[in-house]
């Protein structure tokens, strides 16, 4: 963490925003009253431009450093990726006034304006990323205690339904051997052998043999309909399924309705089904938070790469009349 973890999120975000605003506005506040602007083409302006160029090139090197993070050298401290990231952030904010002063707080022609716009967008996306990095990880811990690997959410949730065939078709969907169906079968199938291990909440356990199903007739039918029509699609596709279980309130209401038709002995199994739906809701939340947490990076990288390219074009063309 670049800022003290002992600080509150609000304080950290305020410090980042204040530092950025100060870096951008301080030179303006000094130069404006004095009307003492640095001309971009003056010696000072060119030097600032060159300094900015060097800093931006270093900033771009972070991408390579992370790509080849295993590369090490001496002294080890200089090859520390976290240190690089820290310097990246600090220099990223520090280069803001350098470039703004170099540009005389203006945009100039089409190419300088495009470069400056990309630069400002890059800084904005970086600051945004820094802010969300302060804020969302803790949010994730608080809101998603059962976090899993974000890219594997669909796979993990669908695992409760069954295995996916190697070659999928409409007729050959998941094999329906997952926990959901085993729980359903434990409630609705007749003729379980004594000592047969059936899934129960908290792990598999031997259940007493019984000659008839715990849930029969219409309640059993409704239970199957609920699971196949609402729960399973939700586990498989999450929010995209447009299932009522997306809403915690609606999920609670639906499972409460379900319990009213079932005997009390079936409640632990229903509780487990409700918990699986809750997992899926958490993971959907995790994916959303994850998107906010990481989606800025492609934007930041794309903007900064385009800005760097145009910056070199600008530098060469600006100095063409040497």
């Amino acid at each position: 963490m670049l800022l003290s973890k002992n600080w509150s999120v609000g304080r950290r975000v305020a410090v980042i925003l204040a530092a950025t605003a100060l870096a951008a506005a301080a030179p303006y506040a000094v130069m404006r009253p004095l009307n003492a602007w640095v001309e971009p083409s003056s010696t000072a302006g060119v030097v600032l431009g060159l300094v900015g160029l060097v800093v931006i090139v270093f900033e771009m090197l972070l991408m390579l450093r992370k790509r080849y993070r295993r590369v090490r050298g001496w002294p080890p401290l200089l090859w520390n990726v976290r240190l690089w990231l820290w310097v990246h952030v600090v220099l990223g904010i520090a280069v803001l006034p350098v470039i703004l002063v170099h540009g005389k707080y203006g945009f100039g022609g089409i190419l300088p304006a495009a470069t400056m716009a990309l630069f400002l967008a890059t800084i904005a996306s970086g600051v945004w990323g820094l802010v969300v990095q302060q804020w969302l990880p803790q949010e994730l811990i608080d809101e998603v205690p059962d976090e899993t690997v974000a890219s594997q959410v669909d796979r993990v949730a669908a695992g409760y339904v069954g295995k996916k065939p190697v070659v999928w078709s409409k007729e050959h969907d998941r094999d329906r051997t997952g926990e959901v169906f085993r729980l359903l079968e434990s409630l609705t199938l007749e003729g379980a052998e004594p000592g047969e291990v059936l899934p129960v909440p908290g792990g598999g356990a031997a259940v007493e043999a019984r000659s008839e199903a715990l849930v029969r007739d219409k309640p059993a039918e409704e239970l199957w309909l609920f699971c196949e029509g609402i729960l399973v699609p939700y586990l498989e596709r999450g929010r995209a399924s447009v299932s009522p279980l997306r809403s915690e309130y609606e999920a609670r209401r639906r499972f409460a309705q379900l319990r009213q038709t079932l005997p009390a002995e079936a409640f632990p199994a229903v509780d487990r089904l409700e918990q699986l739906a809750k997992y899926r809701r958490e993971w959907d939340t995790q994916r959303r938070v994850n998107a906010w947490l990481h989606a800025w990076i492609p934007a930041h990288v794309g903007l900064s790469a385009a800005m760097t390219g145009l910056m070199f074009v600008h530098a060469v063309r600006a100095l063409k009349f040497w």
Partner: protein, 532 residues
């Protein structure tokens, strides 16, 4: 009951999927690659356009060129000196501004001479003036003016002129508050110094209806009769009747400013009609010099005194100095006397004066009479008219200052005052919404008949700089006029709104001045490419 285990540990069987999923780029990694690729493609496209698009220079310009330079919006090298890689050095790179301002304006603009004072100063001061772009800034858009220059360019130095030169101790700053009184009024303040005025003329008399003046006789002011159409016919030339008769309003002839003062854009005051079609007409910035022959002669003809015999009178041409006038008078009187002498009339063709002695006597008498009339005329012309002395209204000294006596008598030449402020431009036409007297005090119709004729020169009839500020100062700026305090109207008030810099000591010369000619005219093709 135990709490449920974490789902990651709660699987009923082993993970059977692809365990190397961590090596498969997730959608963010894919998006990052796509963004990088897009950036590279965009930069590459930009470079392609840079190299191959004929108008690619527009990407780098600081802004559109002004209309006069619009042809070179995409040709940097038309104006900027283009250096090559051989000139690449740190000093060159760091002095980008100098390189950008290394322009070739003189290909088309001659760059007339600077003020002599600037050239004398040399060094930094002259160097500043040597670079066109220090004052003229382009790339400000099509409609931007290249001559609308911020005051800071001027007052940066002129605020401290006394420090750099001893020839001009004046300091100048913003027009609204730091501009000194106009030099002509500083040097010749009204009531103190009339040196530049040489002509004795009274606007008050001429603007009074009927040009009535009063003469003090004893303890009474006796007014002269008004000049009206009737009196014009009785005592003045047909030309005067034609020009001023229509101006008789019943109270006498009422002259207007335009009766004598003609803008350079106006029709000739001699009544010759409008300018012929196809003949150029000036812009009307300045007034033409008042001409005696056009404006004064019809009422104030210069006539040789008749010496008591009207047939001896004859017109005298204007602008003759006394030595030349003596010969002219002698010839004139000789001619008149010869025509009207009885002896001359008695002699017919082939006759002769005989005997010779009688011829000599007559010749001596005739010559003596010519000499007497000439001497009297010279003396009379040099007479300074006194108050009430109407007999001397045709003398030179009525209007002109005379110096010397006798043969050395000289009429002081009149200075040319069409332009009182030779280092500032002024456009009378732009200000024609105002009465003349608003800016030229003492030249309007007097409220009462003047007490006496005025036979003295007038002060410079121009109000001071404050009268300009009433309009030309930041809006709301407090302006103290002679008789009131007002708020400025906010009309433009930059240095360059009045002052022109170029053309050395002749700043009023316009674009047509030969000093502004380009080095060499060019063909259209060369011109559109930025010239040679």
């Amino acid at each position: 009951m135990r709490p449920p285990r974490s789902p990651s540990r709660d699987r009923s069987d082993r993970f059977t999927g692809f365990r190397g999923y961590v090596r498969i780029p997730d959608r963010y990694a894919t998006a990052k690659r796509m963004a990088l690729l897009a950036a590279l493609v965009l930069t590459g496209l930009w470079l392609v356009v840079e190299f191959f698009h004929p108008r690619a220079a527009a990407f780098h310009t600081h802004g559109q060129l002004a209309n006069p330079h619009a042809a070179w919006d995409h040709q940097c090298a038309a104006c900027h000196v283009q250096h090559d890689v051989a000139n690449l050095s740190w000093s060159n790179v760091l002095n980008a501004r100098d390189r950008w301002h290394d322009l070739t304006c003189t290909k088309c603009h001659a760059g007339p001479a600077h003020h002599a004072s600037v050239q004398e100063m040399g060094g930094e001061w002259a160097g500043f003036h040597d670079r066109c772009s220090n004052c003229h800034h382009d790339h400000g858009g099509r409609t931007a003016s290249l001559t609308d220059i911020a005051d800071s360019h001027c007052v940066g130095c002129h605020r401290d002129v006394p420090h750099a030169t001893t020839s001009d101790p004046a300091k100048f700053g913003a027009f609204a508050s730091e501009h000194l009184e106009f030099r002509a009024l500083r040097d010749y303040p009204p009531g103190q110094n009339y040196t530049p005025r040489k002509l004795k003329f009274s606007h008050a008399v001429h603007m009074t209806p009927g040009m009535v003046t009063t003469t003090r006789l004893g303890d009474k002011d006796v007014p002269s009769g008004p000049l009206d159409a009737k009196r014009l016919k009785e005592a003045y030339s047909p030309d005067a009747v034609a020009r001023y008769g229509p101006l008789d309003t019943g109270k006498g002839v009422e002259l207007k400013c335009a009766s004598c003062h003609q803008l350079d854009a106006e029709v000739p005051a001699d009544g010759s009609g409008d300018l012929p079609r196809g003949q150029p007409r000036a812009g009307g910035a300045y007034y033409l010099p008042v001409s005696y022959d056009v404006s004064c002669k019809s009422c104030h003809p210069t006539v040789a005194p008749d010496g008591g015999r009207p047939e001896n009178a004859f017109p005298i041409p204007h602008r003759l100095q006394p030595p030349d006038l003596a010969a002219f008078l002698r010839a004139g009187y000789w001619d008149r006397l010869a025509k009207h002498a009885p002896a001359a009339k008695a002699m017919g063709p082939g006759q002769r004066l005989d005997p010779k002695a009688a011829h000599d006597d007559l010749k001596a008498t005739f010559g003596g009479e010519v000499g007497r009339l000439t001497a009297n005329a010279q003396k009379w012309l040099a007479t300074h008219p006194r108050v009430g002395d109407t007999s001397a209204t045709g003398t030179c000294a009525k209007c002109h200052a005379l110096t010397g006596t006798g043969a050395a008598l000289t009429v002081a030449p009149l200075p040319q005052h069409s332009v009182w402020f030779p280092h500032a431009k002024f456009n009378h036409v732009s200000h024609r919404g105002l009465t003349c007297a608003e800016c030229h005090p003492g030249t309007d119709r007097p409220a009462a008949t003047p007490a006496h004729p005025v036979n003295e020169v007038e002060p410079i009839a121009i109000r001071g700089v404050d009268s300009c500020r009433a309009c030309h100062a930041p809006a709301g700026h407090e302006v103290k006029l002679a008789d009131a305090v007002t708020r400025a109207a906010g009309v433009r008030h930059r240095c360059t709104d009045c002052h022109r810099y170029h053309n050395g000591e002749q700043p009023l010369h316009g674009m047509g001045s030969p000093a502004r000619d380009p080095r060499a005219p060019q063909s259209l093709a060369e011109f559109l490419k930025g010239g040679k």
